[in-house]
């Protein structure tokens, strides 16, 4: 029996590995933001490098999984949904990497008193990603808990929006140059985009889940 389903097990493990990469990417982002706000730029750069490697590995793994799903004509009914989920979750990982890279390139000057707010923003944005990954895992194994995880994502998405709004209000009510204000707004917006991408994945997931109910 084990031999019979070995290939399926391998693919299962690869999908899990890919989702692990997305979660780890989120953790590296959180850590990177924290290090940046603390001014530990060298360690921040190391995290960014790790994140970029992880993103590349994720891309490779995703392509491998997609090829296998097509070649072996596995899960014919849900294949389109699964591939869509993998691709859109890859976009989330790309967005995380891109945001951290932009911080590294543009070195935004965040006022010290806004550090906790930006840190919260990063935390909430990554919480949506973690919820998204949990929901995807549930989609593969336990359909009944997909909904709970999606609700969690929606909650953190709202928190991210609220925090981003607070951050932007705080920035624009300060005595700063307009270019500086717009620059900071841009980084809040990018953190929001991470949460938005994760929410899009969950929207797709809720439809795919309905289709999977027998």
């Amino acid at each position: 029996m084990t031999v019979l389903f070995r290939k399926h097990k391998q693919l299962e493990a690869q999908i899990d590995e890919y989702l692990d990469l997305v979660v780890q990417g989120g953790l590296l982002f959180k850590q990177g933001v924290k290090l940046y706000l603390q001014g530990r730029l060298e360690e921040f750069e190391t995290r960014l490098q790790q994140l970029q490697e992880m993103e590349e590995k994720g891309d490779e793994l995703r392509r491998h999984i997609e090829t296998k799903l097509y070649l072996r004509t596995l899960i014919p009914e849900s294949r389109g949904d699964v591939l869509g989920l993998l691709e859109s979750s890859d976009k989330v990982l790309n967005r995380i990497t891109e945001t951290l890279l932009q911080i590294s390139v543009e070195i935004p000057d965040i006022p010290d008193d806004l550090d906790p707010l930006y840190n919260d923003l990063a935390e909430y944005a990554i919480s949506t990603v973690e919820g998204m990954v949990k929901a995807i895992r549930a989609y593969f194994r336990d359909l009944t808990s997909v909904r709970d995880n999606i609700n969690q994502v929606l909650f953190y998405r709202k928190e991210t929006n609220k925090t981003a709004e607070n951050f932007k209000r705080a920035v624009f009510r300060r005595e700063l140059r307009l270019s500086h204000k717009i620059h900071l707004r841009y980084f809040a917006y990018h953190a929001e985009l991470i949460a938005e991408e994760a929410e899009d994945v969950c929207d797709r997931l809720s439809i795919a889940t309905i289709k999977r109910y027998i």
Partner: protein, 454 residues
């Protein structure tokens, strides 16, 4: 010549393979869970196995409905059933091979003025209602069982996919076996009484009977139908009535296979009798009806919203039209066969229909089991207790034999020929009421005396 006549049966087998095999593997192939080549190979193999190993039960029931015993009669009946199937398929009405052959046999009964055994007929028509209902109920039950198990087991989607594929292949094999066992009677049942095959002894190990050789031939015809024409049907079946997921497809095919097996299994029938329950008749049921019943079952259990009622109405219409059309066509074709081509559509030396009727009544009294081999007979009927009973042997129609076995001339009015007109048949019935015992030629000679015991 006999091989030419068998062509109509093979044609019917081909159309059964092309149409009904799609019911077994259609959902699996349609949902791309099983490749057509795999489906065709498995279904062909198991249809043949089912036909050869377990095809006799339902054949007896069809034989009881009308023992078509002349090869030209068998040819016409099978051909008209096949034409009905082909015609209905062309007009896009869902068709049942079982209904077509039953209708064609009834047409033969009417034409030859053979008495229709209403008990058998009601059994068959009852099964047409019972089988979709049973399939729907089984599918509903299986749906709840599957849903409960899957929610608890939390199997990964990919592994579930693997299990479903394996399940579809195994259940498809069971379905194909059941289809062969249950529906071979439709294809070759009418040729059993006119079978050209002799029993073959294989190294004194077992006997490959003529009937089984006939069923093997029919099975091969079904397999050819599967390979040559079922692919298109397989890829379209299932989704017209209700959109099925692979797991639902598995449930539907499992329910259908179980229904076909229930109506073909002698062991199950024996078991039900043994525990005092009413036996399920061994009747060739329609795989199309069973699969539609099963799809309807899961559709209803899921709220009935996705069901296509227009298609369901069309299907119901087809279920009524098929047997009627086959009966009418069969009647007309038999008329031409006998009067234009001057071919014998009923065997002149065959047991008289009344003799068959007595045999059937005896069998029914013996528990309604209709066994395919030598039946266990009850003690002689009260008929024999009459004074001076006389035995009429259809193989020696001009001789009447006394109860002691001595030839007695008997009254002139009792000398009858079974191939004679309705008047003679009515006379036979009168003779029956006058306590004339009709010798049963299906019982071996050494057991004939048992019939005559008081």
């Amino acid at each position: 010549m006999i091989w030419f006549f068998l062509i109509s049966g093979l044609f019917l087998g081909w159309s059964l393979g092309a149409n009904d095999a799609a019911n077994v593997f259609g959902t699996a192939v349609g949902t791309r869970m099983v490749r057509f080549k795999v489906a065709a190979l498995i279904s062909s193999l198991f249809v043949i196995l089912g036909a050869v190993m377990a095809g006799s039960g339902t054949t007896e029931t069809l034989g009881a409905l009308g023992a078509v015993d002349a090869i030209a009669g068998s040819f016409t009946v099978a051909l008209m059933a096949a034409i009905t199937v082909a015609w209905m398929t062309r007009t896009a009405l869902p068709v049942s091979t079982t209904q077509a052959i039953v209708g064609a046999i009834i047409g033969w009964d009417f034409f030859t003025r053979s008495p229709i055994d209403l008990r058998v007929l009601s059994k068959i028509i009852g099964s047409w209602i019972l089988s979709p209902v049973l399939a729907a109920l089984l599918a509903m039950a299986l749906y709840f069982i599957f849903r409960c198990c899957l929610n608890r087991a939390r199997i990964h989607m990919l592994r579930l996919d693997a299990y479903t594929r394996t399940g579809l292949i195994l259940v498809g094999a069971l379905g194909a076996y059941s289809l062969g066992a249950n529906n071979i009677a439709n294809v070759m049942g009418v040729f059993v009484h006119a079978s050209p095959f002799q029993d073959v002894h294989v190294f004194d190990l077992f006997v490959f009977s003529g009937t089984r050789q006939l069923f093997l031939l029919g099975g091969v015809a079904i397999a050819v139908g599967i390979y040559t024409y079922s692919q298109r049907m397989m890829t379209t079946v299932g989704n017209d009535i209700f959109q099925l997921t692979p797991v639902l497809a598995l449930i539907v095919v499992l329910a259908q296979s179980l229904v076909l097996l229930i109506f073909a299994s002698k062991s199950l029938q024996g078991a039900l009798i043994a525990i005092g329950l009413p036996p399920i008749p061994l009747v060739p049921v329609s795989s199309s009806q069973a699969i539609i019943g099963a799809i309807l079952g899961v559709g209803l259990v899921k709220g009935g919203k996705g069901l296509n009622y227009r298609i369901l109405f069309k299907i119901s219409l087809g279920w009524i039209l098929t047997p009627v059309m086959a009966a009418v066509l069969s009647f007309i074709a038999l008329f031409f066969m006998q009067n234009v081509f001057e071919l014998e559509v009923i065997h002149k030396e065959s047991p008289h229909p009344v003799a068959q009727r007595v045999e059937r009544v005896d069998r029914a009294d013996a528990g309604d089991a209709l066994p395919h081999h030598e039946p266990e007979r009850p003690a002689a009927r009260p008929l024999h207790q009459a004074d001076d009973p006389v035995i009429w042997n259809p193989n020696q129609p001009n001789e009447l034999v006394g109860q002691d076995g001595n030839q007695t001339p008997g009254p002139a009015g009792r000398r009858m020929n079974p191939a004679d007109s309705l008047v003679e048949r009515q006379a036979m019935t009168v003779a029956d009421s006058l306590h004339v015992v009709v010798a049963d030629t299906t019982v071996p000679p050494y057991r004939q005396n048992e019939l005559n015991k008081p």
